[in-house]
């Protein structure tokens, strides 16, 4: 801004002060932006609320693909990748080449750390269901890996059965 422009601005301000008016300030119109953002947030909240179980694959996990269309029902989720078995965000057992660590298995099929965790979770869920006067669904959602071996899958199902889970669901990615 040069001296002439500065002088003109000062003169303008003095003129406005004489007339008892304040300098007009340009303001940013936020209403339309607010509308857009509100719509996006409502849409996202609605889609978030419609999922009973939030599935977030763990690292090194490729969930199998299927043409099944049944929605995922409420239940406790077990994540099994090619390297680890996780429950309640805790790594319970390590896997090598899709097979469980031998030290974690008892009686040929029982995965001891998973069994302990499932029994604890089942107790909590039962108490919760009792307080809400509902039946405990006893459902386990197995979020496995494409390469997960059948033997490991059977061991998980056997362990869950021992921990009183009676319904199982394999989580898959919808194909086509």
């Amino acid at each position: 801004m040069n001296a002439e422009e500065l002088f003109k601005q000062k003169k303008k301000l003095k003129k406005l002060a004489r007339r008892g008016k304040k300098e007009e300030e340009a303001s940013l119109g936020m209403t339309s932006l607010m509308d857009i953002v509100s719509i996006i947030v409502v849409y996202l909240l609605k889609s978030y609320a419609s999922d009973p179980v939030l599935i977030q694959p763990i690292s090194e996990q490729k969930i199998p693909m299927s043409k099944a269309d049944s929605p995922i029902q409420n239940g406790d989720a077990v994540y099994v990748s090619s390297k680890e078995l996780m429950f309640n965000e805790k790594k319970l057992v390590a896997l090598k080449d899709g097979e469980l660590d031998e030290n974690a298995i008892k009686n040929k099929h029982l995965i001891q750390p998973l069994y302990d965790a499932l029994v604890e979770e089942a107790e909590k869920s039962k108490q919760m269901a009792e307080q809400l006067q509902q039946d405990w669904e006893a459902r386990l959602i197995i979020i496995g890996d494409q390469k997960l071996k059948f033997k490991t899958l059977v061991d998980i199902m056997y362990t869950a059965g021992r921990a009183e889970y009676v319904e199982y669901a394999f989580c898959v990615i919808k194909k086509g």
């Binding site: 936020m30 607010m34 978030y48 269309d69 033997k151 199982y168």
Partner: protein, 200 residues
């Protein structure tokens, strides 16, 4: 009531929306991160002892109908299919013939051999013939329209994706269970899988 002077204007206070906007902008990435990118579904599976526990009425109804007892055993070299405790393609006079799969591996098509090589982590001589398995399921369904249960088992090394594909083939690839109405579509064959260990 005092009149306003000509030069005086009513000062309108504008709501400060900036804090709200800040929260909204933080909510968007948080919700986007929490959202599922891929569309998920579930395949309900029953263990052997709990699956075959229908109501008493259903049990009575079924007494009159012939039981199919369809079993599919996934082996590294194909599928072994048996119904009513008789394996298909078994040698004469034998209930089962563990050496021969009912549906052997087929030739490579659409790169399926490479996909299966990746899944198994070793070379494969062919691909699983899911089309033939589905045709077999259709054939059985035509004979036993009231049946919907299939018992699945596999060798220890079979990957989960192959098991899921087997379930898809037995259910029927065009089967949509989430349709309105009580009647199940005819393209749904065996949609109640029982997973059994070491059956065969």
């Amino acid at each position: 009531m005092a009149r306003l002077r000509k030069n005086e204007e009513i000062a309108v206070e504008e709501a400060n929306v900036l804090p709200v906007m800040n929260i909204m902008f933080l909510l968007i990435p948080a919700l986007l991160l929490a959202m599922e990118v891929a569309s998920m579904a579930a395949i309900s599976v029953s263990p052997p002892k709990f699956s075959a526990a229908p109501s008493e009425k259903k049990e009575e109804d079924k007494e009159d109908k012939k039981q199919l007892k369809l079993k599919v055993f996934v082996m590294e070299d194909g599928f072994r299919v048996s119904a009513a405790d008789q394996q298909e393609g078994a040698e004469a006079g034998k209930a089962a013939d563990s050496n021969a799969p009912t549906i052997p591996l087929t030739r490579d098509k659409d790169g399926c051999q490479q996909r299966e090589t990746d899944l198994f982590g070793g070379p494969r001589s062919g691909c699983y013939d899911f089309t033939a398995l589905e045709a077999k399921a259709k054939e059985y369904k035509a004979g036993y329209p009231h049946e919907s249960i299939v018992t699945l088992s596999a060798e220890n090394t079979i990957p989960m994706q192959v098991l899921i594909n087997t379930m898809d083939a037995m259910r029927g690839t065009d089967c949509k269970l989430m349709v309105e109405g009580d009647e199940l579509p005819p393209e749904c064959y065996f949609f109640q899988p029982i997973v059994e260990a070491g059956a065969g």
